[in-house]
Point group: C2
Chain length 390, copies 2
């Protein structure tokens, strides 16, 4: 049986209409249904695409457990050592905690998630398995795509490459990477491994790049070159891309064009005080931009709520977006940009669009981002799965 959303306004369309959901998609807009449906009154409300959490680390989370005071030092190396030291002690990864966090994400209207899952010789594939198990439990509420993520390096952690290979052979859809220069100390060989695995398994690529300044900018160029050479446009993303911070306008213009031409997406979290890539410029240049929380309540830091509308607000705020149309760019990143990143249909909401939706009782998308209202309805594959009005 279908669902009829009565009197809702699809984001980006002119006015209110009845929206019929059937077989997991928007089946009709404004037309009376042919058969009995469940009707839900959303008069005057705004219907958005389901939110997409495009960069998180579900496997690391302590969410739902007691507060764990952060004890790592301030340097990146401190946090890596701290993570390795305390992971086992705290029972990370934990399927129940991952499930709790995924449930919260769904409550906040997230319908699809890309999660970077640690793969290393100590944890092996246990993280991948734990996230898979949690995702299976909540499969009717949220889709989860994993990235096999070499958090502690590939070249510098022998055995990791084989494990990444196993993860991809086992069905993981995306191969990760991390600071090919800054962490793994050999950018070309690092990218050889990452892109080699992508090629062998038909996997997408999503590389953490914290390296800043001219080093990070050069690596972005390297990734774009390789993407273009291998015709992997649309299948490659760089997460964080802090190298945009402090870059001249001329350099970032040129880099945006290079990324757009190669088909490399950028994923930002507007994390802590790190630079936020120039969302508006990138989108204008044709670069897909998505966003996510990064860590949520884990050994890397205690912050994060799982609410992607709040995260879109942070992206808008850090981008100094003030006008409605600018603020909507951040929501675009948190919805359509994420869908594109995950390889999901990403056309503007209309007949045929996936019925992964979130309904909020505010008149405009900009107001939704700024005020972060409660979710009235969360819909996954055409079925109401959450929200205060469900």
């Amino acid at each position: 049986m279908g669902v009829l959303l009565v009197g809702g306004t699809l984001w980006g369309t002119g006015g209110a209409a009845d929206i019929l959901l059937e077989d997991g998609v928007i089946a009709a807009i404004g037309a009376p249904p042919h058969e009995p449906v469940k009707t839900i009154d959303v008069t005057g409300m705004l219907v958005l695409p389901g939110l997409v959490e495009a960069h998180c680390h579900l496997d690391k989370t302590l969410y739902g457990g007691p507060w764990v005071p952060h004890t790592a030092g301030d340097a990146l190396a401190d946090r890596i050592a701290h993570d390795l030291d305390r992971r086992a002690e705290l029972g990370v990864p934990d399927v129940d905690r991952i499930t709790a966090l995924l449930g919260t994400m769904s409550d906040f209207g997230t319908t699809a998630v890309r999660s970077h899952t640690d793969v290393d010789p100590i944890v092996g594939l246990r993280g991948i398995e734990a996230v898979t198990e949690a995702a299976d439990r909540l499969a009717d509420r949220v889709s989860v795509q994993q990235v096999a993520f070499p958090q502690h390096g590939i070249l510098t952690k022998p055995g990791t490459e084989q494990l990444l290979d196993q993860a991809l052979a086992g069905g993981v859809e995306v191969i990760g990477g991390i600071d090919p220069a800054g962490m793994d100390r050999d950018p070309v060989r690092h990218l050889d491994v990452v892109f080699g695995l992508a090629d062998r398994h038909g996997a997408a690529v999503d590389i953490h790049l914290h390296d800043g300044g001219s080093l990070g900018a050069w690596e972005l160029g390297l990734i774009a070159e390789r993407t273009k050479t291998l015709s992997l446009g649309g299948r490659v993303a760089v997460s964080h891309a802090y190298a945009f911070g402090g870059m001249s306008d001329r350099d970032s213009d040129a880099l945006a064009e290079t990324l757009a031409d190669a088909g490399v997406a950028i994923v930002t979290g507007a994390v802590y005080d790190f630079p936020v890539p120039p969302v508006k410029k990138l989108q204008a240049a044709g670069v897909r931009v998505a966003c996510g929380h990064d860590g949520i309540r884990d050994l890397w830091g205690p912050f994060g709520s799982g609410d992607m509308l709040e995260r879109a607000r942070q992206v808008a705020y850090r981008s100094t977006f003030r006008r409605d149309d600018d603020i909507e760019l951040a929501l675009h990143a948190a919805t359509y940009g994420g869908r594109e990143l995950l390889g999901l249909p990403a056309e503007p909401l209309g007949v045929g669009s996936p019925a992964d939706l979130v309904v909020v009782d505010v008149p405009t998308a900009a107001e939704a981002v700024v005020t972060v209202p409660e979710r009235h309805l969360v819909i996954k594959a055409g079925n109401p799965v959450g929200g205060v009005g469900s």
Copy 2:
């Protein structure tokens, strides 16, 4: 009749105790009351000082009215022109909107506010009067201290100095200033006027300083020198102080020492993508640090909720504070730091402290900042005035 908070834990003390509030102060801790009291069970909850909004612009707010899409251009000059153009059209200042925002601030546990109110030849003292009227309406819930603020310059807007003089003569406690170099083009003469008015009226000083780089750093030094010469230590603050952004550690160490020595406070909002002054370094050097939202839902931008716990989280997040004790520094700024700035008693909560309090149902202060829980109880001058448990 007094109020007995049963089983609460005062922030910074060892454990739970009964807390007796009488005559607007904490009258006793752990001792049974001598006379009948109203008891409120806060077992296991954390009792914090009332939050202090140390930098906002109540007079400018559109809060409580319909959403007003932002229409200004991107440059500061655009926003100033936009503000002047649309202020009258939108009925700014408006006592009802100011009252609505103050009420929301109180709901979120704010018990004291410093608000910078525009004073210029067009609006005259109407902003001051509107804020005074709104503050009078809510005097039993929140204290408001105004800054007579020359938003559009002093030297460059003839007539402003006389209006500032009138405002202070009429009871406004603080004289503001703004970018003595960048806006008013004559830093020494600007400070002559500001400090001259402070001297004549016994007013405190709070200067907006957006000027960055070496110019802003030099102005900070100028303000510190003048504060020291005039023995105004503890009565002078600089808001924003973006000049700390990109400053070398050596330079910011020296500047922190200069500010501490002169008794100049720093107020930050962690606003948009502007630099956040080094909160931990400043506090360690003995500089008072307070924080506030800056604009909330006004012609300068649509953001801001009025929740100072959320704002403390933003300060902590932008400061990349991860450890509990670091995160608590942001809460310190949003409570004790604000009390100091406003000239209120700011000793750690104990017998004799003002009974301006907020109670949250989380075990630790760091968790309160990170999770921004609902306010269980808001207490002003010993009286419960809000919170879900009131």
